[in-house]
């Protein structure tokens, strides 16, 4: 075991992927000489050369579109989008090309492209630097969408994403980049838990609390706080947003009967909406209360000095827990 930050764990995972398969190429803005604005690719160009770790012109459509061409040529491109809010110029190439090419070619062309996206808020950043655009991609057939939340997962999941023959949107919680954790760098990828499987990070009996990315730690903290009140929360780190690991969620919800879903992204049409609906369909007879969503507001990401009013935090999550338990909460006086 090695103690690594989440960012360094990604760096080591990328290094392993580059070393394991010479068709893996990293592409992105400032990822070479600089090592990326978050230093996730630090040192990799020096080690693997300018044709494996490629500084690209400033064009997200160009990055994704050339990655499609490289996939035609048999490469395994790993594209870094510098910040969440910068992905939209590449949206057409992702949704119309990357997501559909395997289907359109009737399986003849594999599209093993990994698109890394530092995402989410909580770092006091400027506009377009704190967004959570994952639902757009979870909505798009043909893409896999995964989110890491800790160094150990980051190290394994980035390698799994790159090894996947499907295109993967790989979301990295940028506010967790500097958090340290134990990473088993010697562990075999073959024995690792598949990236599509969720993880029960805190066992509990009263409430199932589902989240991902930067909020996983917040949810764990909430579980600790709730335990002091005698409430047992089971925290599940989704890890994969497309497809969702419903068997793990169902097994928990059938025991607890109460579901809270938390994410930074807005509520409307979000991942929480889909999970609430799907779990209600699957577990209706087991529910003791309607599912509760604790999410960002449906607003453009606010200025940095207001972001604490947008992002779900420990107290807002606990307020949602109170609601799903039928206890006094902020909405007790509100009908519907």
């Amino acid at each position: 075991m090695t103690t690594l930050t989440l960012g360094k764990a990604l760096n080591r995972g990328l290094r392993n992927a580059l070393a394991a398969d010479d068709r893996v190429v990293l592409m992105g803005e400032d990822i070479g000489t600089l090592g990326g604005v978050f230093r996730i690719t630090d040192g990799l160009q020096a080690e693997f050369g300018r044709e494996r770790v490629v500084d690209s012109p400033l064009s997200e459509a160009g990055l994704i579109g050339t990655a499609v061409g490289l996939a035609y040529r048999g490469f395994r491109p790993v594209v870094e989008i510098q910040f969440d809010g910068f992905i939209y110029p590449g949206f057409d190439q992702i949704v119309a090309q990357v997501a559909k090419l395997h289907y359109r070619s009737r399986g003849a062309v594999k599209v093993p492209i990994t698109i890394r996206v530092p995402f989410g808020g909580g770092i006091g950043a400027a506009e377009h630097h704190s967004e959570s655009p994952e639902a757009y991609f979870a909505h798009t057939a043909g893409l896999r969408v995964v989110v890491c939340s800790n160094p150990a997962d980051a190290h394994v999941m980035i390698q799994q994403a790159i090894a996947s023959d499907d295109p993967v949107l790989f979301f990295e919680p940028k506010r967790r980049y500097h958090v340290k954790g134990e990473v088993d760098e010697e562990a075999s990828l073959a024995d690792a838990k598949p990236m599509g499987i969720a993880t029960v990070v805190t066992a509990g009996d009263d409430v199932t609390l589902v989240t991902y990315g930067g909020l996983v730690q917040t949810a764990k903290d909430a579980a600790v706080a709730a335990a002091e009140d005698g409430i047992s929360i089971e925290v599940i780190d989704l890890r994969s947003l497309a497809p969702v690991d419903y068997p793990t969620l169902e097994a928990s919800l059938r025991r607890t009967g109460r579901l809270v879903i938390a994410h930074e992204a807005g509520q409307q049409g979000g991942v929480g909406a889909e999970i609430a609906a799907s779990l209600t369909e699957r577990c209706f007879d087991f529910l003791e209360h309607a599912p509760v969503r604790v999410t960002g507001h449906d607003i453009p990401y606010p200025p940095a000095k207001l972001e604490q009013h947008h992002l779900p935090d420990l107290d807002r999550i606990l307020d949602g827990v109170d609601r799903v338990l039928g206890r006094a909460n902020s909405l007790s006086e509100v009908e519907a």
Binding site: S59, G62, G65, T66, G69, L70, R73, Y103, A242
Partner: protein
Amino acid sequence: MTLSDRDATGLLTRPGSFVQLVDETGARRHDAEFDPWVADVDAAALGRLYRDMVIVRRLDAEGVALQRQGELGLWPPLAGQEAAQIGSVRALHDDDFAFTSYRELAVAWARGVPPEGLVATWRGTASSGWDPAAHRVAVPQIIIGAQALHATGYAMGLRWDHSDAAAIAYFGDGATSEGDVSEAFVFASSFEAPVVFFCQNNQWAISEPVGLQSKQELARRADGFAMPGIRVDGNDVLAVLAVTRMALERARRGEGPSLIEAVTYRMGPHTTADDPSRYRDDTELAAWRERDPIARVLALLDGLGADVAGLERETAEAAGRAAAELRAACLGLTDPPALSVFDHVYAEPNTHVERQRERYARYLALFDGTPDEASDEHGGAR
């Protein structure tokens, strides 16, 4: 002489004009720079180019007819662009890779795509009719200009693989306004990618004239990207062959991308769903009919003393056979099995899609008692 020996605007020393080796009357116009690129094209080779163009024109007419008869949902005619497509595709080496839009029937045909592959998309039985690796032609692209980036990425990969193959991107005049095309120019230029951007300026993007896309010759777009831009008579198959060979050789030598503007004309509608009489008049069409790409080759061959009557007869027979094969292949394409709608969404097993497949199979089973058969390894009821 190479393209890089000229400054980019030098290719437009006669503004508004273009490289032309065979004029509208079939007279051979000598060009010291470009003649060497087609020095091997004798009367027999010209006859083959003529034959290619006649066959694809006949296939195209058959496609239109099949659509009119309700056998195809849509057809995007290539009529008028035979020389641009045949001249360029015949310049490719076998291991070069073409990324096309949806109108490049001649490119797919010349690369050996079988008849059913040429019509499957338009009959609605498949999104693509062929395996790209088998024919070195990507699946047809409907998003305007998107394939320019794919060709560029492929070419970047060629360079990193130290391959001497090249890529070619086909797009139209309308596509030059898309960001993807300009971004492809940037990437190709910066990475010196061995790619040829082959723009068929057929004057119209559905109803919009090329003047709405650009106030100057499209080839001059190349200037801003430090690559050569060359304007060619797109209805002169010999000139198109020459300039495309030249640009491809430049790419193979590691000198980077080029932009070719093939000046041609879309004689028919944008697609069979379009009505060009609403936006252009017959006099324009008549003027372009005088510049027909096929007639001039026949006239040239006649001047060379070839057996033109025999060639015409043999070619017409071959074209008729090809059209009959296209029709038979089209009529032979049956609707795919219902559950194949779920095939190939992902390359790897996917729990979500498999669940939806299973549930839809159960729904279908309400009607005939048995789930439909799916078409691949993930298929069937689960």
